[in-house]
């Protein structure tokens, strides 16, 4: 005769197997939630019948796992409504955050960028390298400055203009890339 403990262990085993295709995080969360549910509803004195009732009420593990797969399916096929807001905020923080909080602002932008669901690796790398690229360009121009000290003003203006153009191009590039995946 099965004991309440083995009934629960069997149930959780079936759930673990049925949910094998879920992303690891979702699966762990589901196991934790169902485990907590059972801990809440079944105490040490519960009889076999009581345990069976609780398990029946929960439904078949396969049904729960299928629902979890469906829910994560809805998640990936219907991006959150805040998609545009997220993309614009990301690009703004990435490009301008450094002016608000030096370095940290830019890092925040990079984190947002790499968490963005609508950019592929190429876009993410391009976005990450915009500022380092601009700084390297500025340094190159500054060393050039020393050599052509006669036209210092021209070189600085050209450098600033080049960086501004680079930022605008980066801005448009990232938002267009995101829009094509929305």
């Amino acid at each position: 005769m099965p004991t309440p403990d083995t009934l629960i262990a069997d149930y959780l085993d079936r759930l673990r197997q049925a949910s094998a295709d879920l992303p690891a995080g979702s699966r762990a969360e589901l196991m934790q939630d169902i485990g907590a549910h059972l801990a809440e509803k079944v105490d040490a004195t519960a009889s076999e019948v009581q345990v069976r009732r609780v398990l029946d009420e929960l439904g078949a593990p396969e049904e729960i796992a299928a629902e979890a797969a469906d829910q994560s399916g809805t998640r990936s096929s219907a991006p959150a409504a805040g998609g545009l807001a997220y993309d614009v905020a990301t690009v703004l923080v990435l490009l301008l955050g450094g002016f608000v909080i030096p370095l940290l602002g830019w890092i925040a932008g990079v984190v947002l960028l790499w968490n963005g669901p609508r950019w592929n690796a190429r876009h993410k790398w391009a976005g990450t390298l915009i500022w380092p690229g601009a700084i390297i360009l500025a340094l190159v121009l500054l060393t050039a400055d020393h050599r052509t000290s006669g036209r210092l003003g021209v070189v600085v203006v050209t450098g600033v203009a080049a960086i501004m153009v680079g930022l605008v191009v980066g801005f448009v590039y990232l938002l267009r890339a995101a829009r094509s995946h929305r």
């Binding site: 907590a36 549910h37 809440e40 105490d43 729960i64 979890a68 829910q71 959150a80």
Partner: protein
Amino acid sequence: MTELRRGTIAFCVLALLDDRERYAVELVGALTENRALATGAGTIYPLLSRLREEKLVASTWQESPAGPPRRYYRLTASGRRSLEAFRGEWAQFRDAVDQLLTQKAS
């Protein structure tokens, strides 16, 4: 779960959290009591995960007076906005569907 039921149950969960935070077993109890949840109670957990991921609800684990810790759910500001929007839409939708259904019956 059908899309209609799934979408609607999500808002029932938000509505249950409107006045106070609750833990999952409480939510399941309230939903099964009025038979809103036609499927196994366990299917509420994937739904709660999604609501959490969409930041419509937030959750914290809390000690219970007796027994194991419980995960309590509460509405976020954006969950509250979604609920309010749904209340308006639902009333309109329900009236429109009712009207069509009774028209057909008569």
